[in-house]
Amino acid sequence: MNQTPVVQLQHATKRIGNRNIVNDLSFDIPAGEVFGFLGPNGAGKTTTIRMMAGLIKISQGDVVINGHSIAKDFNKAIRNVGAIVENPDLYKYLTGYQNLKHYARMVPGVSKTRINEMVEIVGLKEKIHDKVRTYSLGMRQRLGIAQALLHHPLLLILDEPTNGLDPAGIRELRNYLKRLAHEEGVAVFVSSHLLSEMELMCDRVGVLQNGELVSIQSIQDFVHKGGASRIFVTVEPAQMEQAKRLIAAADKTALPTEHPGQLFIQMNKQEIPKVNKLLMNAGIQVYSIQTKEQTLEDKFLEITEEKKCVD
């Protein structure tokens, strides 16, 4: 496997008028990684994808795919890219098979066998000779993935790929993309606003806000590192006030929730035994202590909120 990254963004900037839609974006994606690209609507995710696919000019900086600049050496760079940009917009008046034939003809070396193989993989065998007009959004998404993978790309770019898929379809796609990356060494770039999806699918995430990369880290670090956990302690309701005072004395804030006897405390996990001991020693009956991990969604909101405050 190649040690140089499959795709490198080097200070990529897109300026329209005086505004930088995407500003000084730099990151690499190595082979075999599923990279999640997060950001609220209008953050510049699709603009970034369009730059990576050579659909729009890069105002400053460059995107290098497998060693070839997309701006200067488009043909060589794009040969390694398979993508769905925005929606899986295919030719509705053609059949699914004709669509694949269309794209297959545009890259040398894609055989009929390969087309059929892809049809099989995305599970469209039954409907492949129907007009795309009759397809559901989920089926179009599958066909879109088939067209993106026909030519064995090194980099797969998917814009909101779970749009229109049912839960089973999402799981299937997730597993397929993971297999593609981890077993076949494809670099997978996925943009999404479905944060929970990204958590299950990606190895690394980058968060984009107002055209700038505000965070980039592995998914474990992203979810777990720093940040206090949310702890729910349930005690005998009659002893709740006493428990609250005890915890307050230990410099923590315990807030009652809507459930009788339940207290919400924001603190590090490591502090749980200490609090537990404190309560036990005071003779308070503790029924349960629950830890709610911060989800990607919380983390994401946290990061983007922080950023807003700084701005």
Partner: protein
């Protein structure tokens, strides 16, 4: 390149609209040919008939407010009829070749249908959102645009061939296959009356018409590329065509108009010797049109190559 043209052709011929146009073309051609037969008079006594025609043409030439083109056409017919009587040259028997010259006006229909299809080959992909997936392949935009030009031009030529074949077959059923050595009286470039082979005139008429048709392909694609709107491209191209027909008379008054495509895009003006200006020749018209074809192609090429694809 061949693959790209095959793709573009596949997209043209898999649309219902295309087949409706082809069907219309066949139906109208058959209809016009049959109407020609119904309106034709029996030519048993060509002398009496030609004498009658001379009277008719002389009557018509007394009407002063006829448009210039119609007046000259009438004059030409009068001269030919007189020449026929003086030199004892009988009118040729009814035959499919002469009929094809009479129905050559149907080439205008080929132009209209060509505009409808050509206007959509670029704009249609923007409207449907398919342009993105089309452009992220290892082919330069130049090649992709060029393949669209070729496919649209081939479609135009197919329609022209269909018009010719369909017209010939219908007329052959009505009048018999016809003698390919058949001659008739025509006015040559210098305005002299000469006997010429009718088949050669038919080939000249339909063959040279490819150039005006291709100029409309270029106009429609240029507008389609710049405005990214098929309806506008069809509308503007048709408008140019319709205005163009009424510009032929104006061209006789203003010399500079001869450098516009209008008065140059009707080859029948040269077959029947009614050029808009005496100094205009078929060679001049073809040259002017070729310049316009290059200019419009250049415009669409520059715009298509430079444009950011963000829809």
């Amino acid at each position: 390149m061949r693959g790209l043209v095959a793709n573009e052709s596949m997209k043209i011929y898999n649309r219902k609209l295309t087949w409706i146009l082809l069907l219309l073309l066949v139906a109208i051609t058959i209809g016009a040919s049959v109407m020609g037969k119904i309106n034709s008079t029996n030519t048993e006594n060509w002398r009496a008939e030609t004498t009658q025609l001379v009277q008719l043409y002389e009557e018509r030439s007394k009407i002063t407010e006829t448009p210039r083109t119609a007046r000259i056409d009438n004059e030409n017919k009068l001269n030919i009829a007189k020449y026929r009587l003086e030199n004892d040259i009988p009118t040729p028997p009814a035959n499919p070749w002469s009929a094809l010259l009479t129905t050559a006006g149907l080439i205008e229909m080929v132009i209209i249908f060509t505009i409808v299809i050509a206007a959509d080959v670029v704009a249609g992909e923007y409207t449907a959102g398919t342009m993105k997936l089309l452009l992220i392949r290892p082919h330069s935009r130049t090649k992709i645009l060029f393949s669209k030009y070729i496919a649209a031009s081939l479609f135009a030529v197919v329609m022209l061939a269909l018009l010719l074949v369909c017209g010939y077959v219908t007329n052959a059923l009505l009048y018999g296959f016809g003698d390919i050595h058949i001659t008739d009286l025509f006015l040559n470039q210098q305005g002299q009356i000469v006997q010429q082979n009718v088949v050669v005139q038919v080939i000249k008429m339909y063959g040279l018409s490819i150039i005006p048709i291709l100029s409309y392909v270029a106009i429609a694609i240029a507008i389609s590329t710049v405005l990214r709107n098929s309806a506008l491209a069809v509308g503007i191209s048709m408008f140019i065509m319709i205005v163009g027909n009424s510009m032929i008379d104006a061209t006789s008054k203003f010399e500079w108009l001869k450098y516009l495509p209008f008065a140059n895009s009707d080859i029948s003006l040269y077959i029947f010797h009614i050029p808009a200006r005496p100094e205009m020749t078929v060679g001049f018209s073809i040259s002017v049109l070729l310049v316009y074809i290059s200019a419009f192609s250049l415009i669409s090429w520059i715009v298509f190559k430079k444009r950011d694809v963000s829809i």
